[in-house]
């Protein structure tokens, strides 16, 4: 059997890579995808822990994360599209009117 730490380590790596993506990319869409990556790594952790505890709650949690992700995707993509329509750019660094 593959021990649970392996899954957890994978999850940690994926989360970190996702977070890194948010920090280094400027394309709002890619940033958003990186966030999806982070959430998926959480899902992996949930599932791994569910297996570890032999409790289904972790898997149920994944379901909820999924739902939330779906709603967020709607909101996020709508916002990105809206901004693109106004500014003709999806570079998040160009969205810097508000500062100070």
């Amino acid at each position: 059997m593959v021990p649970s730490w392996a899954f957890l380590a994978l999850s940690a790596v994926l989360f970190t890579v996702g977070a890194l993506g948010v920090l280094v990319r400027r394309n709002a869409l890619i940033i958003f995808m990186s966030i999806e990556l982070m959430l998926n790594s959480v899902n992996l952790a949930f599932v791994a822990f569910a297996r570890q505890h032999l409790s289904i709650d972790g898997q149920v949690a994944v379901f909820f994360v999924l739902v939330v992700t779906a709603a967020e995707v709607v909101v996020g993509l709508a916002l990105i599209v809206d901004i693109f329509r106004a500014r003709e750019t999806v570079d998040i660094d160009d969205v810097d009117l508000l500062r100070g």
Binding site: A19, V22, L23, V24, R26, I31, I92, D93, V95, D96, L97, L98, R99, G100
Partner: protein, 623 residues
Amino acid sequence: MDAAALLLVWPLLGWLINGLLGRRLPAGAPGVLASVAIGASFVTALLLLGHYRALAPAGAARSVPVPLFTWFGAGDLAVDAGLLVDALSLVMALVVTGVGFLIHVYSIGYMAHDPHPARYFAYLNLFIFAMLLLVTAGNLLVLFVGWELVGVCSYLLIGFWFQRPAAASAGRKAFVVNRIGDAAFLLGLLLLFTSLGTLDILEVRGGVDQLGAGTATVAALLLFAGATGKSAQLPLHVWLPDAMEGPTPVSALIHAATMVTAGVFLVARLDRLFLAAPVALGVIALVGALTAFYAATVALRQHDLKRVLAYSTISQLGYMFVAMGVLAPAVGIFHLVTHAFFKALLFLAAGSVMHATHDVIDIRRLGGLARPLRWTTGGFVVGGLALAGVPPFAGFFSKDLILEAAFAQGMTTGNYVPYALGLLTAFVTAVYIARAAALTFFGRPAEPGGHPHEAPPVMLVPMGLLAALSVGGGALGAHALGEPLLHFLNGLLGIAGAEAAHPPAALLLAVSVAVALAGVATGWTLHRARRDPGLGPVGAVLEQRWYVDALYDRVIVVPGHMLGRWLAGPVDLDVIDGVVNGVGRAFGALGASVRRLQTGYARQYALAVLIGTVIILGLWVLR
């Protein structure tokens, strides 16, 4: 005796009426009203004297306290406002009200053309009130009230013509210099109170024995420091000559006859304390003698007639302190009385001169006034001779007694310095007053033209009365007449001790007379026919008052003001407030830098979240 308070009430009433209603009174009324008030006070004082003599048979020392009300108290401190009637206070009250009355009357004439007579007479009445409070106070703190109030009146009256910057400055200088002395006085009172638990004069006098020698000396010196301020002794004498900016009757009353003698009075009042402090007495005698000599020399080369008289006053006050210092307070008071007569006379005569010459007072610009101003000249000459100590004028008696006492003290202690300086000063005194008289009244007028006219009777009559007193006042202390004043004052200590030395009275008398006559002769000879030898470099030093005023200015006043500006500028604004504002600015700068972190870039915000996360989690891991 309870009526003693009336003494104070009259001038107070005069002050209130003139002060509050003065401007609505008819033109001549304020002067008359004020004079009447002081006259009433004088009569009250006379009645009191009679009453007192009936109470206290001749020769018996007696003090009658007149309690009025409790002024204030806190803890074990209780200050009762009350009066003290005894020989000393009666003599002083009589001098104050008597001379005061004459000068009030004189002022009616002198100030006839001034636009603000009500203010003038209100101040004058207030002064008399304060002076009476000072001399009759039964409590040292009440005495101090009078002491300060006379200072204020002096300030107000010197600066009476406040539109003249010199007058305003002189008034301020007088007040401030006096304050320095007063501060010492106050400390002395604090020391007395903390040591004795009381400030009641009788209790203090009775409790002197409980004081340690050191405490007594310090207290005595502090009080004497106060006296040097009020009585214009070295080193606090500088205000008095400037005070001549005030109206001349004021100079006569306040800056010659009465207020400036308050210091002498104070020493006499607390004679027991000073007696318990021999060191202080030595200091007093020395300071007095030095002041007498210093001021007399300066008077030699002053050209403003009133300044000559002012330095003369300082000098004569020095004599009085010498008397105090050599254990002859009664003699000192005697000189105080005679000096009040003849110096007031001299000032009033000087005032008469100003009245005649439209305020020209520089003796180099005067001369030959003897003819138009016969009566004034007569008065001045009488006063001058009294000042010079020529027999049989009043000053001769008192000054001679002082010198005798000083010599006697020298016999006991071996210290003849006060006597020697006193004798020397007597000579110089005769010289400068002869000079002043010669240059002012004799010879030909320095500036021909102008028609000086003699003063009106309202001014001449008081001068006449004072002249009479200057001639006959010596009788009060004349040996031949049994020294009635000294006898009356025998409640004061010290005389017995001085007489025990048995000085060669006749010899000293002869020397005194010889010195006085020699001085007059010298002065007259040198300055006859309007000559005024400059005395070379010494004269220049004297003309500059030994540079004392300049020294004070450069060493104290200017650096003091500079210190103030330095504290106000670099220290207060730059350092202390700089720190305060610096803190404010620092926060502003911090805020600005925090604000700069808010770049507007979402990615950077996300980085901030990550960094925060790492730090938070790191804190745990490292813990």
